[in-house]
Symmetry: C2
Subunit: 511 residues, 2 copies
């Protein structure tokens, strides 16, 4: 572990303390709110207790911001108080939060957002004309020409049109209908909304939701909240985390004994596993969904994050259409995108969209009704989404700067992915699959029997114990594999390579 930490720390280089100092205090406050469980002082019993609360909420686990992250906040507080540690700062590799780790926002995106926020700037000569043009277009589509008005529940009309045009371009001309686009509060909101509408039945007919293992824990959390049945299918670690349809078949077959498997979730490029699915594999999955009558959820938020030269992103929608009308007019598919990842990393704006095709027309009405209860997604996030799908084009004033910034971010992410993979594979006891895309590594750790025993003595999962030690001894915060799911008896952690802070060009880092 010490060797891994040393290598990771050497790869990291110094960073400015400013933003970190503040970020630390924010995380630390969260930690203190949760961990400092003080004894009850008052006389009366509380109405809301662990015993009386919603048991489905109690069952929710969310490791990405779970106990280890709270511990990281505590350690940051201790560092602030001057307590000596073998390190001076915590490195938060637990979450894909690019801008928190120093990635600069795309200038054009922020220019358009500032113009929309404060339209007086439309008269300012310091903003480029193409940014102004986009801001005017967005504002004209908002009630009262203002980001401060509610939008339609499904999202601002012209932004949904831009999303549809983007999808059509991305998919080489496969048509997309703005009516099928729903703007959301990040991708998480879309995923949980669609799952909410899908879950029904009791006992053996309760809805089963197939999710990959390892998975992104939003899925297990929402399944738990909705009291649906989680059906695991295992990705093939020996085969670079590939999805094997035989494994899907096994999972569905076994699930049918105790639930009604109705939904199949895919994350491509993979989170936390970083693989990129082949076109053939996607075709197999779609055929399987068609055969087994499964509603497909394609989490494609890392569609811009493909690094391996041997891999390409294929959207489920495009493959579905290429498979012919039997599939393209029958398979129900929701796919998700976000402003948070890709090259923009605008997590804080909570922008996203979903495209839902072959939805029963009556269900469209139900979906809009459900969305309308929370009125609308943040309009500023919708505007951010618009820039992502409608960026500057050749001939426009901002095109060159935009392209330069975009390529620089994506180039850095690719370098960091390679660096991460290489570093991990130099450490005895760690094996890391090739990082083809997304922003994460999910290396396997081979723990000695004594470490497993020590963990058990502490009533901790062995990988949680490892990650806790890694954090306490080196200040590096990663999330244990048990928070994402893994094959029994194997141990992993998720490390966000995308936020790996590199100062020197990676090729100059001598291991």
């Amino acid at each position: 572990m010490q060797r891994a930490a040393a290598l990771l720390r050497r790869g990291c280089g110094p960073r400015t303390p400013g933003p970190w100092g503040r970020n630390q205090s924010s995380a630390a406050a969260e930690a203190s709110a949760v961990l400092n469980v003080r004894p009850e002082r008052s006389r009366r019993e509380r109405i809301l207790t662990l015993e009386s609360m919603n048991p489905q909420v109690k069952a929710v686990e969310y490791a990405v911001r779970g106990p280890i992250v709270l511990k990281a906040g505590e350690i940051e507080l201790e560092l602030q108080r001057g307590i000596k540690k073998p390190f001076t700062e915590v490195i938060r590799a637990n979450i894909g939060d690019a801008q928190a780790m120093g990635q600069q926002p795309i200038t054009f995106l922020r220019q358009v957002m500032a113009l929309c926020t404060y339209p007086n700037l439309l008269d300012s000569p310091s903003f480029p004309e193409d940014a102004k043009k986009r801001a005017r277009r967005i504002l004209q589509a908002c009630g009262g020409n203002s980001l401060g008005s509610y939008s339609a529940s499904q999202g601002v009309n012209c932004i949904r049109e831009d999303v549809a045009a983007y999808i059509t371009r991305r998919d080489g001309g496969v048509p997309a209908d703005p009516d099928n686009i729903y703007l959301t509060t990040g991708a998480s909101d879309g995923i949980s909304t669609i799952l909410k509408i899908l879950v029904s039945g009791g006992g053996k007919s309760r809805t089963g939701v197939l999710i990959p293992i390892p998975q992104y824990p939003l899925y297990s959390a929402v399944i738990s909240e909705l009291d649906a049945i989680q059906v695991n299918y295992y990705l093939d670690e020996e085969n670079c985390w590939a999805l094997n349809v035989n494994e899907l078949r096994r999972a569905v077959k076994e699930a049918k004994d105790h639930c009604d498997p109705k939904v199949l979730c895919i994350i491509n490029p993979g989170n936390p596993t970083g693989q990129v699915q082949s076109r053939k594999c996607i075709e197999d999955v779609i055929h399987f969904a068609w055969e087994e009558k499964l509603f497909l959820l394609a989490d494609e938020v890392y569609q811009d994050n493909v690094y391996s030269p041997d891999c390409r992103f294929h959207s489920f929608k495009k493959v579905l259409y290429e498979m012919g009308p039997e599939y393209s007019s029958n398979v129900e598919l929701a796919s998700f995108h976000s402003t948070s990842k890709g090259y923009m990393g605008e997590c804080g704006y909570r922008g996203g969209y979903m495209e839902v095709i072959n939805l029963h027309p009556e269900i469209k009405g139900q979906l809009v009704k459900l969305l309308s209860v929370r009125l609308c997604p943040p309009v500023s996030g919708q505007a951010a989404m618009d820039i992502v799908v409608n960026p500057p084009v050749p001939g426009e004033e901002s095109f060159e700067q935009f392209s330069r910034e975009k390529e620089s971010v994506l180039g850095n992410l690719a370098k960091k992915a390679k660096l991460t993979e290489d570093l991990f594979n130099q450490v005895p006891g760690i094996h890391c699959n090739p990082l083809q895309g997304a922003m994460y590594a999910f290396p396997r750790i081979f723990l000695p029997a004594k470490a497993v025993e020590a963990a058990q003595a502490h009533q901790m999962a062995p990988d949680m114990f490892y990650c806790m030690k890694l954090l306490e001894e080196t200040g590096i915060c990663v999330v244990p594999g048990s928070g994402f799911g893994q094959r029994e008896g194997t141990y992993h952690f998720r490390f966000c390579s995308g936020t790996f802070p590199v100062r020197a060009p990676p090729e100059k880092v001598v291991i």
Copy 2:
């Protein structure tokens, strides 16, 4: 009805077509998505249908954006296509969306937001220093000094501190703890999160949630989604929609036969009813909650919207503390605020907060965990909330302009409330209680027996029938009382007085 419409239209005056044209098309698209239920073309049955979907979602109703609003969208489409109507535009009085109706954003708020969005502007001489100071403070508390980073799940630290300081000022020194503040995606998000954690049990021990009738339909929608038991208590229309504790007592007593009443929701100032609760009444309600062991939810998003000179806003928190330690250290209370209402009307940013006091420490952890699944509320909305709770103070450069703008908006809202009340009370067959606060009138309509029969012949609730006719014949879009709940045999509609577009000063409108 014709008389009512003529009076309302006379009060309205002309408006610029620009934003409306766009807003219309957006609403129209929503209408066409939902209402144009085309026959199924494809061969296979859908997986997700009205029969197979989540029955709790199917049971959700949300009238504020329900069928009448979809019909309004259809009519707007028809007007755009040149179809002749007795009116040239639809007046959307169905929702409190101030900026969509022409209310201008508060300059200072948007200046700070623009500076946070595009920090290059911090060097611009066209922005006041106090706005820059606030923007710097917010950015320093964000990861990577950027609105594009995720915040802590509970919200940005310094913004929660500002909220706590605001509450302390508002409540005359009653202390507020930043640890008890949770920033949310509008108030709706906070309300549904707290309800989600509160609901448990099966059969007769299923959680009962007391809500006022008439209510804001978010409550009934969330209760339905969570499969909780809605327990109605009726506001006293004859007594200006006052809350009577005897009625609460009746409701709880009857509810105990079939559920476990555990939560009491209050909306003050009232939505849709526009009343402001007296201090005495709040004290009675708190005592009742203490006595009956009810978790209190105080929806106080209209706390800045009190118009009647005889009324004042009293927060539940303040009254709770003034009642002494037996209450202040025992009664569990969540109160909600938002950027959407008040004088700022920033609905689109989806900013809000909740303060939760006397929460069991273990539940705090559960709440943070639940919030962390959706990562964080939009950081731009959090920043907007910060300006609302931390506005310019005397001596600061922007104070004068800010105060002028704030007073102008609140003054206009007060005038519109009075105008609305007076207009309705001139119409035979309509009775409207005094509008003491919030943004709505909920007048009672006395329908002739023949109108009720005609409605029944159309299989419509009588007030839905009335509102549909009002919309079709006059273009005025209001929401039928049945969407909010009302005493059996009485009929009402909700009219948003706050968006009543007045051109001439109201005192010059000759009725």
